[in-house]
């Protein structure tokens, strides 16, 4: 494991430089103020120490100029801190368009990772250096948190909802992976390693792991295995909506309103199909709750993503709000 120094932990991502620069700027500013206050206190305590038991010093009460200064100046500095912090936050939170998307499932007390090419890992994450990686994460039980200190990224992993985290490794190496939200007995054991590799080596590694097939091809298998294909025809004449060119679109729901067809919506439709039925269709789809594993849902989502950009050959899809736009990839807004 790459070792840290006390002054600077391992820094290996595209944001860690910006992060550390801001962190140390804060240390300097806050340190200066703290030292300033300490010096003032000690100096005053010595310089104005009591000379005699009954001494009465000058009774200074207030100085408006001083008061206004030390209200306005900190406020302005704080607003500057907010601005830098917000900018850094947007850089950390908003993934670029070309990110490679992986799926993470957290459960007590391990991390399961799925690469789109099919490779699967437990408690380890292999990534290529220099490539933006976006993780779509969900928990099977309690709230966990995916934390890679070397990349300066962290995001809580929630049950029943996908959250995302992105990074771009800049240095090859092995880095800590921690769970950072207390999750029960083996919380401190829910750790692992992130391996950032030279892109060629990564390609070799990922090809080795793709024996079973890519995530979306596994999803296609699930699509038939679970009987989805029986209703969700691609010619538009099925009992269920045509799922081509669906991913990322805004979909009208019966009863009014609309929803973005993202990972969370697709998952909800599989587990609780009555929650949001597409306009023009009826309550026919059975629930798969208890019958389908979280990883299989992810495979189905990958498949639906894969058929997203396919040109529609069948009937038009009036329930989609903006036909003609392609599926959104990396810059999807957070759902709630």
């Amino acid at each position: 494991m790459n070792s840290s120094s006390w002054l600077r932990p391992v820094a290996a991502s595209s944001v860690s430089g910006e992060y550390d620069a801001f962190f140390w700027a804060m240390v300097l500013v806050c340190g200066a103020v703290a030292i300033g206050i300490a010096i003032a206190l000690i100096y005053f305590a010595i310089r104005y120490r009591r000379r005699s038991e009954n001494q009465l010093p000058p009774q200074i009460r207030v100085n408006l100029a001083a008061e206004v200064t030390w209200i306005a100046l900190p406020f302005l500095i704080f607003m500057g801190m907010f601005a830098y912090g917000a900018k850094l936050y947007l850089d950390i939170e908003r993934p670029p368009e070309n990110a490679l998307e992986l799926y993470v499932t957290g459960k007590q007390w391990m991390w399961k990772l799925q690469h789109p090419e099919g490779a699967r890992e437990i408690n380890e994450l292999h990534v290529p250096v220099g490539q933006s990686i976006k993780l779509n994460m969900i928990s099977q039980d309690v709230i966990h948190s995916f934390y890679i200190p070397a990349f300066r990224v962290k995001q809580d992993v929630l049950p029943d909802r996908y959250t995302t985290l992105w990074f771009r490794a800049t240095k090859a190496g092995e880095y800590h992976l921690f769970c950072a939200e207390y999750c029960g007995t083996k919380h401190s054991g829910m750790i692992g390693a992130v391996y950032a590799m030279d892109p060629h080596e990564y390609q070799v590694w990922v090809d080795r792991g793709a024996a079973e097939g890519s995530l979306s091809s596994l999803g296609e298998k699930m699509f038939h295995q679970f009987g989805c294909a029986n209703c969700h025809h691609f010619d538009g004449h099925g009992r269920g909506p045509n799922l081509q060119r669906l991913y990322g679109q805004t979909v009208r729901i019966s009863g009014g309103g609309s929803v973005t067809a993202d990972d969370t919506y697709i998952r909800e439709s599989i587990l609780d199909p009555r929650a949001k039925i597409v306009e023009g269709f009826t309550d026919l789809m059975p629930t798969f709750k208890g019958q389908i594993a979280e990883e299989q849902i992810i495979q189905l989502i990958a498949y639906i993503r894969a058929i997203g950009p396919q040109p529609v050959t069948g009937a038009p899809q009036p329930w989609i709000v903006q036909p003609g736009t392609t599926a959104i990839s990396g810059t999807q807004p957070e759902t709630r």
Binding site: M1, S4, W6, P9, E18, F22, M26, C30, A34, I37, A40, L41, I42, F44, A45, Y48, R49, N54, L56, P57, P58, Q59, I60, R61, V62, W70, I71, F75, F78, M79, Y84, G85, A86, L88, Y89, D91, I92, D141, V142, I143, S145, Y147, P149, R152, K154, Q155, L158, P159, D160, H176, F178, A180, Y182, G184, T185, H187, S188, G189, E334, R336
Partner: protein
């Protein structure tokens, strides 16, 4: 008379009535304050013992002293006891109860019987929580995050939550009592802007007590319902939202941290003028800042949830507001420091604690600025950085303020002087032990060590060992005052009414005061900290 020792034994609140029942059924706010001292000291010892075990376990990177299950229970119980059974009650129920009526020239609080009831309710809550502890403990963390606490933990969650729920009513009663007292029981001439800042800060604290604690009650009630009835309030499988818990929990718990620090600031605002012998600099600014902290403190809860899955926009709003709430605290720090300027500064123990407070609170507060910066928070949230931040404020701040206040008013409360030399030494030991314990934790957090970890990677060991070493020193620093204060109660030199030559109505009474505080109701004609007006009475030149 200043400095003169009382020769004739007079009836004080300590001997106004005899027998254990006269204490257990007392309605005298001063006796109730002492009853609370016993309770919170006992809880502090229990909570501190758990901290000691945790730090011993963390000497090595593996779980060898205790199992992971036990460690999880230790940090949970440490948090629960320290937050709800020590920090939140400490200064208000002890020094607040004792001093508020005296400082405003009243005979007692507005509702003395309710005051006694609050002590019993508090202890009942404590007993129920201790029951949970003895039966096997709780392992959810003091934050009870769902769905772990509602659907997964196999420990005594409902019992612990019930104990806290009950104790919360004690808090509400105390806050209600103080608000009514400060509004309606001030002596003639004691206008709002003549009140000592101790009163302003406790008033602000009481506002938070009454507004925030009911939300905690509802939150714990919902956790209890969910755990017992399993109806899905926080269970996503049944349509619930586990993140909603975080919102309602922190909506209370963030104002709660201001409950923990405002009384500490109250104490410092009394000690600094007294030991500089001049008025608190910027009195009105400090008074308004107390209210400002209470008000804005209700608007920042989302800063505990920057990586919890809320939207980027709400994160922005909470970040700005978190910086806003830092402004009144900064105002106070500058005004305290400026009070020493051209003063007559004495280095008695209370002042040492106060100066220590200002320094350590400043460090703690400024690391809060780090956490309020959205981008920085991503890396250090849920790590030891946060633990160091809040311990700097709670231990380096609130506990030091409590000790400073206990020393400052000890002569008034006990009628005796504590041993000054030993007290100064203890203050130094506390300061050194504290910084050695918690400063390494900032580094640990920046390096990436998550919190609530029983085991950790090897490279974090050196810093953990330093921290544990500091904790043992800190423990010694806390035991010493316990010993010498108790010793001085019996064997200390008798104190006069005003050994510090301080202003304030409490110093006009004998030490210890009589049961009803004042022989005749005082009439106030000058401002707080008005040494100039009082200089003849205090024999100052």
């Amino acid at each position: 008379m200043i400095g003169a020792v009382e020769v004739k034994p007079s009836r004080t609140y300590l001997d106004s009535q005899e027998g254990i029942l006269s204490w257990l059924l007392t309605t005298d706010h001063k006796r109730i304050g002492l009853l609370y001292v016993f309770s919170i000291t006992a809880f502090f010892v229990v909570g501190g013992f758990f901290a000691l075990l945790m730090r011993l376990e963390l000497l090595t990177p593996v779980t060898d002293l205790v199992s992971a299950e036990t460690y999880n229970k230790l940090f949970s119980m440490h948090g629960i006891i320290m937050v709800w059974f020590f920090l939140i009650p400490s200064i208000p129920t002890t020094l607040g109860n004792f001093l508020i009526p005296m400082m405003i020239g009243a005979k007692d609080v507005a509702f003395p019987k309710l005051n006694l009831a609050s002590w019993y309710i508090f202890n009942l809550g404590g007993l129920v929580t201790l029951y949970a502890l003895i039966r096997g403990g709780v392992d959810t963390g003091w934050t009870f995050y769902t769905p772990f606490s509602t659907s997964y933990s196999t420990t005594y969650v409902v019992a612990a939550a019930l104990g806290i729920f009950i104790a919360g009513f004690g808090s509400i009663i105390t806050g209600l009592n103080f608000i009514a007292t400060i509004h309606k029981m001030r002596a003639p001439g004691m206008t709002w802007f003549r009140l000592p800042i101790f009163i302003w800060s406790h008033y602000a604290t009481s506002l938070i007590f009454v507004l925030a604690t009911p939300i905690l009650a509802i939150t714990l009630l919902m956790v209890g319902f969910e755990r017992i009835l399993k109806v899905g309030i926080f269970d996503p499988a049944l349509g619930g939202d586990p993140v909603l818990f975080q919102h309602i929990f922190w909506f209370y718990s963030h104002p709660a941290v201001y409950i923990m620090i405002l009384p500490g600031m109250a104490v410092i605002s009394e000690i600094v003028p007294a030991f500089s012998r001049k008025p608190l600099f910027g009195y009105k600014a400090v008074a308004y800042s107390s209210l400002g902290i209470a008000a804005i403190g209700f608007l920042v809860w989302g800063h505990h949830m920057f990586v919890a899955g809320q939207s980027l926009y709400s994160a922005m709003v909470f970040s700005i507001l978190s910086y806003l709430v830092a402004v009144p605290s900064a105002i106070k720090v500058f005004n305290w420091t400026a009070t020493l300027y051209k003063g007559s500064v004495s280095w008695d123990t209370p002042m040492l604690y106060a100066i220590g407070f200002i320094g350590l609170f400043t460090i703690g507060g400024m690391t809060g600025l780090f956490l309020a910066a959205l981008g920085l928070d991503v890396h250090v949230t849920d790590t030891y950085f946060v633990i160091a931040h809040f311990h700097y404020i709670m231990v380096g701040g609130a506990v030091m303020a409590y000790l400073g206040g206990v020393h400052y008013w000890w002569p008034k409360i006990s009628g005796k002087l504590y041993p000054e030399g030993l007290a100064k030494l203890s203050a130094l030991i506390v300061f050194i032990g504290f910084n050695l314990t918690f400063f390494p934790q900032f580094i640990l957090g920046y390096l990436g060590m998550p919190r609530r970890y029983a085991a950790y990677p090897d490279e974090f060991q050196v810093l953990n060992v330093l921290s544990t070493a500091g904790a043992s020193i800190l423990g010694v620093g806390y035991i010493l005052p316990l010993v010498y204060l108790i010793w001085s109660w019996k064997y200390g030199k008798p104190a006069g009414p005003n050994p510090w030559r301080a202003t304030g109505l409490e110093w006009k009474t004998p030490s210890p005061p009589p049961q009803h505080n004042f022989e005749t109701t005082p009439v106030v004609t000058y401002d707080a900290y008005d040494y100039e007006a009082m200089k003849e009475e205090l024999e100052l030149v």
